[in-house]
Symmetry: none
Subunit: 400 residues, 2 copies
């Protein structure tokens, strides 16, 4: 696809976990149950359909789901959770860094895991523990060690030095009732890295019990180095791109593709997202706005609370977005999170695209069922950006 | 796909630029606005859907659009405009020919282009100029030079000789207000060709002003040799194929894939297309019928005139086609040309396939919106020929 520049702005609103499944009690999906007059009206005059983020039947994580929305085939761009978390908390990567996603956790006297999240220990406690660990484990041999707190029990471990490699196995067994795993080298060159992470774990197991702050061990997974991922400015000729998100991982992903991260409060007040959008509107040409809580409540199995987040998004964010003239607006999500499954799912996600060149789909409302009758059909999410660029007249004709 | 022969004829009607977008004044697309009782009835009892010719969000030129309709992935078969124009005016290619698409143009005394089409100079004047240039520039070194008039300001330049190569840059800057470009060699072997085309341009710049016929210079682009493209008779076992088109480029493309070009008047009277079809019906097994003017009016931004061409097609051509028994009929287009955009666009194009083995889609009319609910869904145009061959029982079972 050959690209060109245009003045038209593109707004991509991702409601995390948007898609749902009929709830037996309410006889509807969350999106159908929510009162969404603004989205319904917008869907009528928009092109609509459903998108699949990875493959038929594949349940996407939020990372791959958003990569697909951004137009990167997620099976080609595998990005470790570690680097996303590091970028998410604002860390500036250095040469020879590798990153681990860490969980503070609890094990019993026999080393059997009893809580992989240490009772979702508070962010403050995690900050305190990170300070301790940074002091006590600053260096192992020639490798620098750094701990960064994320939210609640989550943290990032960064190793820096020569000869580090990422093809090692996780220490997080992903279940309780079992001991932690020893990290192993998948290739001869990575044995040094596996040794160091095992060494870090055993030091943590010695240090933490002394402080009696709750967590007495830590789990590591998602080791990764900084991936070489094409930037929005090169891939789409989009130079001024803004990420309006509150959760670290989404900021991390947006940083990776070259977006500017909007300064925004850490809580997820939709009014703050709306204000941030309005205040920055003139200065950017692409906006990625992320609403997290629909997914969080979906994962909790809380149908009504998820519907409420969608309702609030319709009430607070949509009018602010649709008030802008001559732009391209896309509303969708990164995967489904049906409350009845209390988990992400593979079900395709509703999508709408509005511009002055949109063929109106004239569907009755913005929902999974109506969008399945929409004029875009069901298509892979990785093609979405191409449609948005076309609607914004940022593409050139192919051939004479 | 393994093929076989059958008696069933296939008729592919391409209405150029068929697809549209809702016009704010008429609240409909061109195809919806046009009264098309015959197409509507046909769509009901046909398989229907939408086709995309190149890729999501990619606006096809008419060349790639038709290549896709003919079943050739347009990104694999890149065909220069030069050779299409040459074939279109009936030129029979020889060994060592290379082809340029030319524009007669006007530049000011400082060599700045003021009109890339010389006021759309008449075909007659262009013919006169070609005669002059053929006399004055018959040969440059060991290279034979030949000029052929196309329509209005358009012409074809053919160079013939040893050592010509096509990897050179255009002299047409594609905009006015700038001087012409010097052609450059993209590989060492093509410097001779670049020198010759620059030499041709400087000779034209000396010759044309003397005759005071309007144009005083010429622009060249789309240099190409005869591509090696599989023939319909080999690719589809279709031996007797007829192109019924009036515009040179479409005849050129059809020649390239091995179709016979019907003798037809140069004007685009739909009655002539219908008569040509009827007169040749018994002698061919595949018919490509091309209606150009829907696209031309779309490009002019003339919603009503485009709708009128569609209406006339419905009235004049469709009854003649549907009167034929036991054939496979496909009606579609090569891309959308929404009048509100006054340009080609990426929007998918309605398609219908009728045969005695068609699953009736029972949609209400032949339109973008109704076809988006059709039973074929939205699919890449390059798969269309396979469906037509299947409906014509020209395909074999795969496996036992």
């Amino acid at each position: 696809m050959e690209l060109t520049k245009s003045q038209t702005k593109i707004i991509l609103l991702s409601i995390d976990g948007l898609g749902g499944v009929d709830h037996p009690e309410y006889d509807k999906t969350e999106l159908e149950y929510a009162a969404t007059p603004n989205l319904d009206q917008l869907a009528k005059i928009s092109e609509t359909g459903l998108i699949t983020h990875v493959d038929f039947g594949v349940t996407p994580g939020s990372g791959p789901g958003h990569l697909a929305l951004f137009g990167y085939p997620p099976e080609e761009y595998l990005i470790g959770r570690g680097v996303l978390s590091a970028l998410g908390v604002g860390y500036k990567p250095k040469r020879n860094d590798i990153f681990f996603r860490g969980n503070l956790a609890i094990q019993d006297n026999n080393g059997i895991l009893t809580d992989r999240r240490a009772g979702r220990v508070s962010t403050e406690t995690t900050q305190k523990i990170m300070e301790i660990l940074n002091k006590e484990i600053a260096q192992i041999g020639d490798i620098k060690v750094q701990f960064l707190p994320e939210k609640e029990h989550r943290f990032v471990l960064i190793l820096n030095g020569e000869g580090l490699q990422t093809d090692i196995t996780d220490t997080d067994p992903q279940v309780t009732g079992k001991p932690k795993l020893e990290s192993g080298a998948l290739t001869p060159g990575s044995s040094k890295t596996a040794e160091i992470i095992n060494n870090v774990v055993s030091k943590i197991d010695t240090i933490l019990p002394k402080y009696k702050l709750g967590p007495n061990t830590a789990l590591f997974r998602g080791v990764s180095s900084l991936p070489n991922i094409p930037q929005f400015k090169d891939r789409y000729l989009l130079d001024k791109t803004l990420c309006i998100a509150t959760y670290p991982m989404y900021k991390g992903l947006s940083t990776l593709v070259g977006m500017t991260i909007a300064l925004s409060p850490d809580d997820e007040d939709l009014n703050h997202l709306a204000t941030t959008f309005s205040n920055n509107y003139t200065n950017y040409e692409f906006f990625f706005i992320h609403v997290k809580k629909a997914d969080s409540y979906g994962e909790d199995g809380n149908f009504l609370a998820k519907a409420k987040v969608i309702e609030q998004t319709d009430k607070v964010l949509i009018p602010v977005i649709t008030a802008k003239q001559d732009c391209v607006v896309c509303v969708t999500g990164d995967h489904s999170t049906p409350a009845i499954m209390a988990a992400h799912s593979w079900h395709p996600v509703p999508v709408l695209i509005h511009s002055k060149f949109a063929r109106r789909s004239l569907i009755n409302s913005f929902s999974e069922r109506e969008c399945s009758k929409g004029n875009l059909g069901t298509f892979p999410a990785q093609h979405l950006m191409k449609l948005l660029l076309a609607h914004a007249q940022k593409t050139k004709k192919f051939g004479a």
